[in-house]
């Protein structure tokens, strides 16, 4: 049995108590945790290697090591937040996967211009006409374009165009705009809610399932 299998099967309280211990016991637990996190970071970077085609294997390993190190710090810092609602390893893996995924997305977009051009949403009606079915859809997409222009603020339009239409990763956009994933997603969520309400007020049925304030 490998050390990874041993630790992954350990009870959650065992992991937490070992990481809270002092001396050699803690050092051993931290080392095992780092190995687990490194394995998770390599897993994530491996499945995203197509986005890193220009990076050599050694550079990908550097990325994995950096992500595992950052994840280890995050896990140790947030140890009190672990409530035992999942295996400790599952809880810890998510930090490594997040760090690795963000690193890959940022590296993939390094040096690339982010399409945030003003007026990009005006192409929505044309895009919608190509994707839609007949006159009603043409009216719906024309109305949508009008509401994006009239109802949304500049930041809401910026995030909507970049994330929803141009596939810019939200972490990358957050880094460029000096914001956070959560804050930008709130902008996107509020923009979508405004658009849904505006379209409903104009009589369009868009399959609302009970949107509510949050």
């Amino acid at each position: 049995m490998t050390p990874t299998q041993t630790t992954a099967d350990s009870p959650p309280c065992d992991w937490v108590s070992r990481l809270r211990a002092q001396g050699p016991a803690r050092q051993a637990a931290v080392k095992e945790l780092h190995e687990l996190l490194l394995g998770a970071a390599r897993f994530e970077i491996g499945r995203r290697s197509a986005q890193l085609g220009h990076l050599r294997g050694g550079d990908q390993e550097d990325l994995a090591q950096q992500a595992a190190g950052d994840a280890l710090m995050a896990v140790l810092r947030k140890l009190d937040d672990f409530r035992g609602e999942s295996r400790f390893t599952t809880w810890a893996y998510k930090f490594a996967l997040l760090e690795a995924a963000v690193a890959v997305r940022r590296r993939a977009w390094q040096g690339r211009e982010i399409p945030l051009e003003e007026g990009a949403w005006t192409r929505l009606a044309d895009l919608g006409a190509g994707a839609g079915r007949g006159v009603e859809d043409a009216e719906l997409f024309a109305a949508l374009r009008e509401e994006i222009e009239a109802s949304l603020g500049p930041r809401q339009r910026e995030v909507l165009v970049a994330v929803a239409l141009n596939d810019v990763p939200i972490d990358v956009l957050a880094e460029r705009l000096g914001s956070t994933r959560g804050a930008l997603y709130k902008n996107l969520h509020d923009a979508r809610r405004k658009l849904r309400r505006a379209l409903a007020a104009r009589g369009f049925q868009i399959g609302d399932e009970g949107e509510e304030e949050r």
């Binding site: 992954a8 893996y93 997040l98």
Partner: protein, 73 residues
Amino acid sequence: MKRDELLGRVLGPGAPELTCEQCFEQLDRYVELSVAGEPADERIPGMRAHLEGCPACAEDFRSLRDLVAEREG
């Protein structure tokens, strides 16, 4: 891009959803329930809608689900 996909991207899921922070807090539990075949969407309301609306969190979910299935399954 097809009509429904385009509308989905622009208008989002249209149902009450978690925030990105709440999604990350609950992700490990949601993944284990999903992998175990438990009713994850009933136990953690708002998660599915958020994953439909947030491409980055949806990627994080798929990665954790696949890693857990591979390592712990």
